[in-house]
Amino acid sequence: MTTQYFGQRIKRNEDPRLLTGGGTFVDDVTLPDLLHAAVLRSPHAHARVRRVDTAGAEALPGVVAVYTHGDLPPSLQEPLPRLIPHPALVHHKTQYALARDKVRHVGEPVAFVVAASRYVAEDALDLIEVEYDPLPAVVTLEQAVRPGAPLVHEDAGTNVCAHYTQRVGNVDEALARAAHVFTERFVIDRGTAAPMECRGVVAQWDPRLRQLVVWDSTQAPIPIRNGLARLLGLAQGGVRVIAPDIGGGFGPKIMMFYPEEVLVPYAAMQLSRPVKWIEDRRENFAAMNHEREQIHDAAIAVDRDGRILAVRTAFLYDSGAYIPYGLTVPIVASTTLPGPYKIPNYHCEFRAVFTNKTIVSPYRGAGRPHGVFVMERLMDRVAAELGIDRVELRRRNLIQPHEFPYDVGLIYQDNAPLIYDSGNYPATLEAALQKISYEHWPQERARYRAQHRHVGLGVACYVEGSGIGPYEGCRVTVEPSGKVYAATSVGTQGQGHFTSFAQIIADALTVRVEDVIVITGDSGAFGWGTGTFASRAAVVAGSAAHLAAQAVREKTLLVAATKLEARPDDLVLEHGRVSVRGAPGKSMTLAEVAVAANPLRGTIPKEWEQPGLEASRYFAPPRGTFPNGVHAAIVEVDIETGMLKILRYVVVHDCGRVINPMILDGQIRGGVAQGLGGTFYEKLVYDESGQLLTQTFMDYLLPTTMEVPEIEVDHLETPSPLNPLGVKGAGEAGVIPVPALMAQALDDALSELGIRITEMPLSPNRLLEMIREARAQAPSPHPGPLPQGEG
C-alpha cells in the first residue's frame, strides 16, 4: 500500500527556499533600467484639491515622470472598478487612481512620481505643491449618521451607502412574549492586518510582444489581470500578473484595485521602462485597507430555562471613504452571529456608512469576530442574569449532530443559502471543556481568589463560513522527468499550498510530495480563478487539484494500458510506477508513461482525448462549508496596572478532514495571536480631524513572542459532504472567537467588580479605567471569594 500523505505532518516544500533567503517577494524583483515610484498622499481627511503644482518635482534631477489625475488616460480618470455589487448598496463609490477634485481620507493618493531611485522619488514628493481647502471631516460612525453631518460624497446626499436587513421568523413577536429580554450595545474599533510585507507592484512592458508583466503582492492575480487588460486596453493574454511569494496577506491584499496597481503598470507602459513601487510601513497604515469598526445594538430573548427565542441586531458598519469591496464584511458579520445555536427568530440589519477614514475591506475574520462577539456576549449576559452556568446555557441551545444539514434561514456572502453542512457542536464544546478542566474551575477560581489573584476563565463557541465559490481550477502535468507540476491561480501568502496541494496530488499519483511542484498565483501558468479569500483555497483549489490529479491518474492508466497491452483495470499505480497485476515484470514509471503519452510520430488513440499526462479540472462548490470550534482560556489581570496575562489557551476545532496537521495548527495559532492583538494591543486611533495617529509599529502594537502564549490545539474531524476531500477552511478560525472569549474571561476575572466588557479592543489604560469606575461604585479593593458555582 502506498503511503497516504493526506493527513500527515509533512514538512513544507517551500521552506528550504524561504529559509535560505531564496524567496521572491515583489521587492526582490529587480530588472534592468528599473525606475522607482513614490506616491504623494493626502495629509487631510477631507479637503478640496484646488491645485497641484508638480513643476518643482519634475525639475529635480533623477525624476522621470510625475502624474496627477489630469495626466492619466480617460480609463484611469474614472473611479476604479466596483468589485462586488449588491442590490442594497445604492452608493457604490470607489476611489480614483489619483484624487480628482477632492480627497476623502488621509493617505489618499494625489500624485505619483517615478524616478531613478526611491530616495529621489521621495525627494520629489517634497517638491510637489498642493493647495487644499480643508473640509470638516466625518470621523466616527455615530457622527456620520447624524442629520446634517458633512457628506463624504455630496452627490450621494447621505453618508449611508447601504441599508440591508435579513429576517428569520418574527422577532418582534418573540421579543414581546419572552420571559426575559436583554439588550446591549457593543463597540468594536478599527484595526489593520499589518502583514510584515507591505504592498508592492513591479511592472514591465515589452512593446514588441505587447506584453505587460506585473508582479503584484495581491491575493487575486487573475481578477487583477482581467481588470488591467480592460483598463489599459490590452488583451487578457497580453497581461501576465504574478503574485510571487507574498509576505502575509490576511485579507486586505484581496482588495482590487488599489490605485498603485493601475498606476505602476500604466507608468511602465508609458515610459517603456520597468517601474517598481514598494509601499513603506507608514503608507501601509494609511493606504492599505482597514477593518473591524462596527457598533451593534443587540437584543436577546430567552425563555425561563434560557432557551433562545429571538436575537436581534442593528449595527453600523464603517466602510471608510469608499466601498469598492461592497458589503462582504457586514453580511458576514450578520450571518456569522447565530453561530452554533438554534435561533428561531432572528433579525439583523445594518447600515454601511462612509467616513473620512481609510477604506475598509475584509481582514482575517471579516466580520466573523464581530458576530461571535455579539452573540457570545449576549449568551454570557443571559447566563449571568438567569444564574445559569454559561456552559450549561450553551449546551441547551446548541444545534444537535442529527440536525445537519441545518438551514439557518439567511443568505450568506456568496448569495447562497446559509446551510451548515456538517458538524458536531456538542462534542466540540465538551472536548474544549475537558481540555481546560472546566469542571474543576470553581475550586481553581476559589484558590486564586484566596491568593487575591484576579483570574478568570472563558469559553466561546463559533461557526465559520468558509470555502465559498464560485470556483477554482488546477492543471496537473506529469513531465517526462517524472516530476509533477501543478498550477493553480490562487495566490499563497504563507498557508503552505506548495505542500498541502502537493500532498493531495502525491496521493493520487503515488509520488513523493517533494516531487510535486506547485505553482500558484501566476496568470501565465494558470489563467482562471478568483483568489485567496474566505478560507477557501484548500477547499476549492484543493478539490480542483484532487480532481485534476485523479484525471491524470486515469489518463496514466489509459496510456500505460496501451503500452503494456493490458486492461486499465488490471493495472496498479504504486510508488510512481504502473504495473500489471500479477505480472511484476511488466511495468512503466510515470516518467515513461509521460513520454509515451506525447509521441513524436505515430498516432494517439481517440480515448486519450489529448496528448500528455495532463489534466485541468475546476471545482465549483454549491455553497460554503462550515467549520466550527470552541476556544477556552484562563487569564489573569493585575488590577493595579490593568496588565493582562494569559495562563492557558486551548482550541478545539473542526474543519473536516485535516490535510496537514502541522500547517493547520500553524494557521489556528496565528489566527489566535492576531485575535489577541485585536483584543488587547492593536488599535488604529484617529483624532477628531481624521488624522491617523497610529502610523508606526511603535504606536500600532503587534504582539510578540512575549505576548502570545502557548496555544494548545485539538481537532475533531467531521467531513464536509460538499467537496470530494471532505475538508473545510481553516485560515480564519483562530481569530474569530478571541474577542468574545477574552471578554468573558475578563468578566470572570473581574466579577467582584461587576465589570461587563462590551467593547474591543481593550488596553491596560481602558481596563484600569473600568476598574476605577467600578470601584467608585463599590469601594472594596479585595472582596472575598465568590459564591460557589458561579464559574
Binding site: 514538512k11 513544507r12 517551500e14 521552506d15 528550504p16 527556499r17 524561504l18 529559509l19 535560505t20 533567503g21 531564496g22 524567496g23 521572491t24 517577494f25 521587492d27 526582490d28 529587480t30 530616495y119 492586518a193 499589518a194 502583514p195 510584515m196 510585507e197 507591505c198 511569494d245 507574498i246 509576505g247 502575509g248 490576511f250 514598494i278 513603506d280 510601513r281 501568502q493 504563507g494 498557508q495 503552505g496 502541522m662 500547517i663 495548527d665 500553524g666 495559532r669 496565528g670 489566535v672 495571536a673 492576531q674 495617529l693 508606526t696 509599529f697 511603535m698 504606536d699 502594537l701 503587534l702 504582539p703 510578540t704 513572542t705 512575549m706 502570545v708 502557548e710 496555544i711
Partner: protein, 206 residues
C-alpha cells in the same frame, strides 16, 4: 527603533540652554570634510565588496539593491519589526537603522551565508521541522538573531528564547513553532550536528 509609546512629538532636539564655559581651551584639530558620497569596502558573507554609496543609503538598501542579496527583508524601516536583522561583526543589528557608509571596514553576515536549500543549517532545519515559518518574510531576521543568540547561550530556556526574539515581529505568528525550533536547534548544535560552512556569497556581483 525602540518601540516608543506616543506619537513622535518633536523632530529634532531644540537646544535652548547656553552652557557656561569654563577652562576655555582652543581646539586645534581640523574638522574632517563633509561628504555626500563615499567609497566603502565591506566584508559581506566573507567577500570584500567595494562600492561608492550615497551617504544616506541605508545598509539594508545597500545589501539588497547594490549587492543583490534579497534574503534580508525590509519590513518597517523604523527598527521595530526585525525583518532586516543581519549580523554586524557577529552581533545582530537592524540594517534599516544604519547607513551603508557606517559599515565600512566591518563584517556583515546575511541569511544567504547560512545554508543552502540542499543543505540547510541546523537552525534552518529546526525551523522547518517545527513550522517556524509561514510566509517566510520575517524568517531571515529571526534566523540571524537566533544564530548569534545560540552562540552566546547554547542551552537557553524557553523564556530566554522568547526574550531574545521579542525584537522580531511575525504576523503569521508562528512564535510557538519558532520557540520550539530555537530550542531544538540549540540541542542539535550542542549535539554537534554538522553545520554547513558559511557560504561566501557576497552578492550578485561577486
Amino acid at each position: 527603533m525602540k518601540k516608543r509609546t506616543g506619537v513622535v512629538r518633536r523632530t529634532t532636539k531644540a537646544r535652548v540652554v547656553t552652557p557656561r564655559r569654563r577652562n576655555p581651551v582652543r581646539t586645534d584639530a581640523a574638522a574632517p570634510p563633509l561628504v555626500t558620497r563615499k567609497e566603502i569596502t565591506v566584508q559581506v558573507n566573507g567577500v570584500a565588496q567595494t562600492a561608492e554609496v550615497e551617504v544616506r543609503m541605508t545598509l539594508v538598501d545597500f545589501i539588497r539593491e547594490r549587492l543583490g542579496l534579497t534574503g534580508t527583508h525590509v519590513g518597517c524601516e523604523h527598527g521595530v519589526c526585525g525583518a532586516c536583522t543581519i549580523l554586524l561583526d557577529g552581533a545582530p543589528v537592524r540594517s534599516c537603522l544604519m547607513f551603508a557608509v557606517q559599515a565600512a571596514g566591518q563584517e556583515i553576515m546575511t541569511v544567504e551565508a547560512l545554508g543552502t536549500p540542499d543543505r540547510l543549517h541546523p537552525i534552518q532545519e529546526a525551523f522547518r521541522d517545527h513550522h517556524g515559518l509561514q510566509c517566510g518574510f520575517c524568517t531571515p531576521g529571526f534566523l540571524m538573531t537566533t544564530l548569534a543568540f545560540l552562540r552566546e547561550r547554547p542551552s537557553p530556556t524557553a523564556d530566554e528564547i522568547r526574550v531574545a526574539l521579542a525584537g522580531h515581529l511575525c504576523r503569521c505568528t508562528v512564535y510557538q513553532g519558532i520557540v520550539e525550533a530555537v530550542s531544538d536547534a540549540a540541542a542539535r548544535l550542542r549535539a554537534g550536528t554538522p553545520t554547513p560552512a558559511p557560504r561566501a556569497r557576497g552578492g550578485a556581483r561577486e
